[in-house]
Symmetry: C2
Subunit: 434 residues, 2 copies
């Protein structure tokens, strides 16, 4: 039998590699529409910044690697234009057909930039592919732009704003919603704004961009524009084949990452997963989830019995050296999900003061009824990732505030204070809950 | 009614402060035998190193602070020599008596140095108090010793070895057992030894020290000796008063930190707590536990209903910039506790290679029967504390390897790779479990 995987980046390659481990003899074909596979899309802003010198440093595996080391056939430039499940075949742009017995759809997502009037102007960029990054870097070197507008204050938006600012540009971020980092969280947005402004980047929220002019966007003059908004899952291929799309707009799957079509799986930025705090399907396109869900899709497609439990929505982004880390729901989001949120927000040192501790902000959100944690934010230059990961683990374990407040965390002056900021926040939250 | 607290460092002051919050009118008296209260004992090696310039930086609160801000009476130089529970009073060295209705015993622990022949020689030190640290620092400045022997490879032993080496001394650590950091773990000991040796410190295990000579210890010549071994709980006062001592040698308590004598509580380095992985009493004298258990003791002594669930044995120590973090049990310890341990040990990058990731070693231990995690080790210069804390949280939540392997951890190149080292270790452990 043959397993065909549509998409050769995170979820697709995780699925293919895992399927190979489950079944050493399975025929596996990966079809990637672009020219490269297995690249670190999350590293693109750091290539733009200049910290990553060679674009090749962002490529982890080549098609040759997969062919030789894993016995997986990877075809680049192979765009699938149709799936015919009754015939168990996919149709390529070239007209060629590839038969499958099992199919994994890992078609990813795309930015909404192309839909904007003026999107084709030569000073307008997106940042999703290696080509995008090389083109932007070339533009910076050759045209020496002095100012940029970034459309969208999500992760890519703020990362590219940081990268451009470090290249000396004046940068303005225009965000349609009232909040940054895709989280309905006024305090987080205020903290992001403050950090951006301290480093010379302006964040304007509530600004809808409908067109890009040759000399500016929404009244802000600039020499270049990066569109980092309107991200949406690539589901058209799946939908046309009769695959069910969930309410989030992404492909619906069960815990085995199987769609409503038997033998057809989906994973990565095109697919929904379960949010473990709400228990509902969610669409949070991140590389970590793509890899994990891709593994499960590949294992199940190859005949193993595995399940992907879901996510709690953890992420972190660095803005001029400061980590902004979030997990679960903000208070506003928790309320919208039907919880009765109670919030504690504290500031404390990342280490003892006598060992150069720096300010760390922690916000924890619990549900008043169950006293369970439902979300958290950690902001700081030292240890934000480790701290949010503890909160994420607690969410996954459905921990109550009282248990969380007594966590036995590592303490030593070079690493943390005797009362870690997240425990101080938990104590405060316990008081708020009464 | 009056609450008397014996001991004015971590557990004692946590108890007193928490009792005050529970009951604003309670009379609270803290009796501290030494000249100072509320000092950061864990910061002493960094004062010896020279990083902490003023010994006063290690003092957090003064007796005046507690008197004025918390309405708590703190007496220093007040050594309790007897507890008479039938009379509800403690007797001070001066002969004075202090009556109590509720009592919290937070008498801490002491090093075994004094018992060694030669311990009173002027070049022999311990490092438990502010006085100890000042005396050592003065000796370093005035006598310019060229070499040191540290007796004991526990946390204080390796920290003081690091501090002395940074002061230019040749340092040899002599450890009686076969292992470092108080953990029966050959791989961890090998890693500690390698790190020490790379920085010019020799670690000799299996060496029993019975006497200190004027010019050396156990055949190793040196100009100074630091005894950092033989740590034991101060339980004599409690035992003489009829308070039950547990099998670990520390004071036995229930979940409210109450001893077998009604109204008498114990917390901190003198008391046992429950190990949440084994379910058995354990004695792990650490500041974090002292503070948490002290809070519960104080709250319950003041009439609140709280419980201290226990610990999982998490700790971290920095050795020449490298974090050595552990939680739960090593494989050998797990076997001794009746588990059937399965181990996975991996090396991976702390961040993507293109973002300067550094080598991180992760070992996870699970129980074959239940597939639950029972312990872990993280060694690395970047993010060891955060990573061990995730493992510790999982232990506290009694997580199985499969759940752990799908944790939704924060990813972004400046902070972590897409597959965090601890998840890679969990995948490996899943394979080992089959």
């Amino acid at each position: 039998m043959a397993l065909v995987v549509i998409g050769g980046v995170a979820a697709g390659l995780s699925a293919a590699a895992r399927a190979r481990r489950v079944d050493a003899r399975l025929e596996i074909v990966v079809l990637e529409k672009g020219p490269a596979i297995s690249y670190a899309a999350c590293g693109l802003p750091y290539f733009v910044e200049g910290r990553v010198r060679e674009i090749g440093d962002l490529i982890r595996y080549t098609p040759e690697y997969f062919r030789k080391e894993r016995n997986i056939e990877v075809r680049t430039g192979a765009r699938v234009v149709a799936i015919s499940h009754p015939r168990r075949e996919v149709v390529l742009e070239s007209g060629a057909k590839v038969g499958y017995e099992k199919l994994v759809i890992a078609t990813g997502a795309r930015g909404g930039g192309a839909a904007l009037a003026g999107a084709q102007l030569p000073h307008v960029f997106t940042l999703y592919t290696l080509d995008d990054a090389e083109r932007m870097r070339r533009f910076l070197g050759e045209r020496r732009p002095k100012s940029a507008v970034v459309v969208g204050a999500g992760y890519i938006g703020v990362e590219v704003a940081d990268a451009l600012r470090r290249n000396g540009l004046r940068v303005t971020i225009l965000e349609r919603s009232a909040h940054a980092l895709l989280r309905d969280d006024a305090a987080l947005t205020a903290a992001v704004r403050e950090q951006l402004e301290q480093h010379g980047v302006e964040l304007r929220t509530g600004v809808t961009v409908t067109a890009i002019e040759p000399d500016g966007v929404a009244g802000v003059e600039c020499d270049m524009v990066v569109v980092a908004a309107g991200f949406q899952p690539n589901v058209e291929l799946a939908a046309a084949a009769g695959i069910e799309i969930g309410r989030t707009g992404a492909i619906r799957t069960d815990e085995r990452m199987e769609t409503n079509l038997r033998g057809v799986f989906a994973a990565g930025d095109c697919a929904e997963v379960t949010h473990l705090v709400s228990g509902r399907p969610t669409w949070i396109p991140l590389g970590t989830t793509a890899n994990k869900a891709g593994r499960v899709a590949g294992a199940c497609a190859a005949g193993a019995r595995e399940r992907f439990a879901g996510v709690v929505g953890t992420s972190i982004v660095g803005i001029f050296g400061m980590g902004f880390a979030t997990t679960g729901f903000s208070a506003a989001e928790a309320r919208a999900e039907g919880f009765s949120p109670v919030v504690a927000r504290i500031e404390a040192n990342s280490r003892p003061r006598y060992y150069q501790g720096v300010k760390t902000t922690v916000e924890l959100v619990a549900d008043r009824t169950t006293r369970r944690l439902v979300g958290g934010v950690v902001i700081g230059e030292d240890g934000a990732a480790g701290r949010i990961n503890v909160v994420a683990t607690a969410l996954q374990a459905r921990m109550r505030v009282e248990e969380f407040a007594q966590l036995d965390l590592a303490y030593s002056p070079p690493f943390a204070p005797v009362w870690d900021p997240i425990l101080i926040a938990a104590q405060q939250l316990g008081k708020e809950l009464g």
